[in-house]
Amino acid sequence: MVDRTDTKQDRQTASRRSFLKAGLMGGAAVAAGTGVARAAGDPLITEIQDWNRYLGEGVDVAPYGKPSEFEADVVRRSVPWLTADPVSSINFTPLHELDGIITPNGLCFERHHGGTATIAPADHRLMIHGLVDTPLVFTMEDLKRFPRENRVYFLECAANGGMEWRGSQLNGCQFTHGMIHCVVYTGVPLRYLLEEAGVKTSGKWLLAEGADASAMTRSIPMEKALDDCLVAFKMNGEALRPEQGYPLRLCVPGWEGNMWVKWLRRLEIGDAPWAQREETSKYTDLLADGKARRHTWVMDVKSVITSPSPQAPVTHGKGPLVITGLAWSGSGTISRVDVTIDGGRTWQTARIDGPSLPKALHRFYLDINWDGSELLLQSRAIDDQGLVQPTKNELRAARGENSIYHNNGIQTWHVNNDGVVENVEVS
């Protein structure tokens, strides 16, 4: 922990220093494309470097590889004051450091309600019972004999952005939007398992339960279970990480992360929802009039600029600047992302690059030539249902400020003349 902080500070200091240096050296050096060029040439080029002369480490130094030591500050981080204890808490994906649409397994945010369960695959069972013809028990080996599929999905906690309802509060895209990740899952369509047990016609609901110390439970309507739910055992090609539900989790594509029950051990079929703790006292959205919405499953159309952002300031001065971010919708694909640099007076359509898959993250770019003036950056996503990402004030007008969940309002980043970025709200 201390090391990470040090690294981060060192790096920020270093980048701030080189930025100042570049500024002092004036426009010429910046125009030449380097902040450290000298008459004698860049010593990194003119002098032979250690890594060029001496042998590096051989294979097998790390049988399971790790990121470069220079990436040590690219880690999940938590907000200690948010929750009572780390065993029932959350941390955040460092979105500002990532690119593309796939989240590396070790950086996928964690949310546990009773700590990470440790379960040997040989000891894991999945039971299907209730309104079925035959109640069944599967071992992990059984599950791996069903036909399996690979699908890319985002998983977003319903509380992502929940701390921002009353105004901009956390200064970092990691903290304002980092309760999300996107990986490729390998698993068995839930439909196959339900068909194997034979769901009775009266079976309209499904209760999914985890094997962890919180015995997490959520009610899921049968149409969704039969549509695109997946019982997954791999993420990004390797076994699920323990903190993501090893050896088995449920994927409920496009719906709030709490329903993606980890350490999945039981599926009960019934004729009505169960009104469990996580669908009554939590994950219900309190409105300004005292009413509360329940079963707010779908994650709304949403986007955020990941760089520049408060943890990823502009350090290179004026000139070409890559503005990039993520967009997603629980309803399908993203058809368009617009970006503004003046706080929403004028918008330009950004370029979506990479795969455009339903209920997955989309990566967008807007390449601009920065003149060094202040920017108010925002992004606005539109999904294939035609739903447009609302402003934070539109959401507040409709819901008040006590909803906690489902805050998909447009985020504003202020970039000052020095490239420093801050989380702000605008008129």
């Binding site: 902080t5 981060k8 981080r77 907000v79 948010l82 929750t83 009572a84 009773g114 000891d123 039971m127 299907i128 019972h129 035959t134 109640p135 028990v137 599967f138 059984d142 004999r145 069903f146 509380a159 701390m163 009353r166 105004g167 901009s168 509060q169 200064n171 903290f175 068909e195 194997e196 110390a213 919180s214 439970t217 039981r266 019934g270 169960w274 009104a275 469990q276 703790r277 006292s281 309190l286 005292g290 919405r293 079963h295 707010t296 709304d300 929403g344 007076r345 004028t346 918008w347 539109i382 609302p390 402003t391 409709a398 006590n402 202020h414 989380n423 702000v424 709200e425 605008v426 008129s427």
Partner: protein, 373 residues
Amino acid sequence: MLKFPKSAALAVLAMTAFAGPSLADGDVAAGKKVFKKCAACHAVGDGAKHKVGPELNDVFGRTAGGAEGYKYSKAMIAAGEEGLVWDADSLTEYLTKPKAMIKGTKMAFAGLKKDKDIVNILAYLESFSTAQAAAVEPAPETAKEAEPVETAAAAPAAEEPAPEMAMAVEASQGAYGLGRKAMPDEVEAWDIDIRPDGTGLPDGKGTVAQGDPIYAENCAVCHGDFGEGAGRWPVLAGGQGTLLKERPVKTIGSYWPYLSTVFDYVRRAMPFGNARSLSDDDVYALTAYMMYLNDIVEDEEFELSKENFTEMRLPNEANFMADDRLSEPHYAKGGEPCMTDCKPGPVQITARAQVIDVTPDGEGDENSGGGID
């Protein structure tokens, strides 16, 4: 009878005479698993800090009540002053039934029922202690012999497949013929969910008065004596009339729609870190006590049972509604969003995160602008 061994020599004697399994039999890995029951309140290992309970590094050899900076019960401090030092023997007694040994201890934990769990957890805790070794280390010859044997025995044990089930297994009749039929006892063991209509309620009953001591022993450490919540742990009672306010207090009485959720959740996940340890009657009594703390019943003799459960109603039930987000104006208006001249003049900043300053790594970590839980 000497209550607490007063010296290492006595501790050795006590250990030798101790009839139960000795520390040498403990399995650190198994102890680590058992420790999960403790981890909600205790930390151990690198950088461990006091939580609800004191950190447990070097607990062997520590005088009772002696961890610096932790606020102990008077009873624990007194025990230390009387000469209680934690070693295998005293910890065994304490972990078997904490309140029997130290009357008045703050530790809400009821105790470990299995001797094996205690031996294993002591082995685990010992691995974080330096002072202990001399007192209860097994005789050297055992250690010598054990070394090669242990290595040989440990590896296959870990990979040993689950024992064959000594019962008739009926294959799935589905299209793939995968899996096997679940047995009624298996379904019963896992099917513990309760619905608002009472489906799933077990036989049983309990009164408010019976729930009071169960709550005090198992729940108050986190939820407060009156359900007011300790630290950031959930508030269970009060909050009526706050749902329209700036900081609503969402409790069983002020917010939760169904009483069945209380029973279901307590039975499946509470006490936190020792789930499934309460009897059904205990859960009925605790649920009744929750109603009492929330002024839903006022009679301490009120008894909640399977029979009268579904007659109970929580005050906020009618205020839950279906998801109608798509009818909100910003979604309902539809159409193409504005691209140019969308705001009348230059845009002003109206709020800044740096003013709030609650971002981690900043200087204002202590402040809270509201939570997610």
